[in-house]
């Protein structure tokens, strides 16, 4: 079991000001970065810092596809952060005891991607998946307000030292951290119209999909060696 701490969230940004080369004018897809810290990974050379990169579209897709409420973005993010659910077809997953325990715990649950399931059930299945990961693989919980404020203070201390060494003035960096480290993501409500549009598109696509074709696509040839007892 690994325990991680959620310290901070931020929106992705363009590094330089100015027009970026884009394939299409609407090809702008915001992403979120969630700063994590794993104390147990920390060594002299490894600070144990990790980042989860989350396309904003994924939040909408969780509401559209799996029945989450657009107003429970906090639950969506928390579920996503714990959604490391391996496939039983994956031989490498069986090498990891935590992953094995997760797979065994959720073995009897229906496939949340099954379009026959009601949306409420899909949501419950994903919540159960995340709960299994929390129980057997790892947990991610918000770092305490004190620790997060301390992290900011340490960063400000570094910056101030650098600024002083360079002889430049920096503005006041007396930053109060928000109540939740996910504040940046939760600041704006998920757009229910976009969620509804995604769901309409998914259902339309599904109706047009030949179910036999899906079954055939799922059966690819075996390509595994050397795991037999």
């Amino acid at each position: 079991m690994e325990h991680g701490l959620i310290y901070h969230s931020e929106a992705s940004y363009s590094f330089q000001h100015g027009p970026e080369t884009r394939a299409d004018a609407d090809d702008v897809h915001p992403m979120w970065g969630i700063h994590l810290h794993y104390p147990d990974r920390r060594t002299d050379t490894d600070p144990g810092d990790h980042i989860a990169i989350l396309p904003h579209a994924r939040l909408e897709s969780m509401a559209a596809r799996f029945g989450f409420d657009p107003d429970e973005a906090d639950v969506i993010v928390d579920t996503l952060l714990h959604l490391r659910v391996p496939s039983p077809d994956d031989p490498l997953a069986w090498q990891d005891p935590g992953a094995v325990a997760v797979m065994q715990t959720i073995a009897d649950l229906p496939d949340p991607g099954d379009p026959r399931l009601p949306y409420e059930t899909r949501r419950e299945v994903l919540l159960a998946h995340a709960a299994a990961v929390r129980e057997h693989a790892y947990t991610l919980t918000p770092a305490s307000l004190q620790d997060r404020q301390g992290a900011v203070a340490a960063r400000v201390f570094d910056l101030a030292a650098q600024a002083e060494a360079l002889g430049v003035q920096i503005p006041n960096l007396d930053i109060a951290v928000p109540d939740t480290p996910l504040a940046a993501i939760l600041a704006v409500r998920l757009d229910p119209s976009r969620v509804a549009a995604r769901r309409a598109r998914d259902e339309w696509l599904l109706q047009r999909t030949d179910s036999a074709q899906r079954a055939a696509a799922a059966k690819t040839g075996p390509r595994v060696f050397g795991f037999a007892p």
């Binding site: 600070p47 810092d49 990790h50 990169i53 391996p86 991607g113």
Partner: protein, 233 residues
């Protein structure tokens, strides 16, 4: 009765027969040349102001047929035979709007379609191209190429085949979990490259992969760029 007339008794009947025969010979139906050429101008089929088909219209440089749904004479669709090298080339033209016009071309070694909007399909003698503007696939006899750019992975749906993208991370991380923009519909194969910001070499590895995300960890805390193409299989 002895007739004093120099004509036979039925001369009126005979004369009538001769007149009829003469009339038939002289009638225009039989005397004028066959009606199989129109040389004086275009042939317009349809009432003025109504749907019209014009053959060989005035102002055309090639043999053309104009199809005009409202008879206004402006902006018709056109069937055209253009001169190629030793062959006629069939072209279909749409009407125009805002300077845009779509065409379909049929030549002995080429079939192509171009929309006024910018998309095209070209089946040529030695290559085929399909795409939109500067973003297209080119197929030769043995190889294919893509020109243009790949969509960023961050908004693609769960049935997307390829998720291309890059993420650049400053700071002191030694790992990242990259989420896909949806719970993907089947198993994913993340092809990932890691670029070190300092230029120094280090060990790194993908440490988890599933339909939701993949995790990558590296040895030394440094700024990195992660390049990825994750394929669905």
């Amino acid at each position: 009765m002895i007739s004093s007339s120099p004509f036979p008794d039925d001369y009126m009947v005979r004369l009538r027969a001769v007149e009829l025969e003469l009339k038939q010979i002289r009638t225009s139906l039989n005397s004028r040349p066959a009606f199989n050429r129109v040389e004086s101008g275009p042939l317009v089929v349809g009432r003025t102001g109504s749907r019209q088909i014009t053959l060989n219209p005035d102002g055309a440089t090639n043999p053309e047929i104009w199809l005009d749904p409202d008879g206004s004479g402006t902006n018709p669709t056109r069937v055209v035979a253009e001169a190629g090298s030793g062959e006629a080339i069939l072209k279909l033209y749409s009407g125009t709007s805002g300077g845009d016009q779509s065409t379909l071309t049929l030549a002995s070694d080429e079939v192509s379609m171009e929309s006024g909007g910018g998309s095209f399909a070209f089946w040529g003698a030695d290559e085929a191209r399909f795409g939109f503007g500067g973003n297209y696939f080119r197929f030769g006899q043995n190889i294919c190429r893509h020109f243009g750019q790949w969509d960023d992975f961050a908004s693609l749906p769960s049935n997307a085949g390829l998720l291309w993208g890059s993420v650049t991370l400053g700071g002191s991380f030694t790992g990242a979990t990259v989420f896909y923009p949806a719970s993907m519909d089947s198993n994913m194969g993340p092809i990932v490259g890691l670029r070190s910001g300092t230029g120094a070499s280090m060990a790194w590895c993908i440490t988890a992969s599933n339909t939701s995300n993949f995790e990558i960890r590296w040895q030394t805390a440094t700024s990195v760029a992660i390049y990825l193409c994750s394929f669905r299989h």
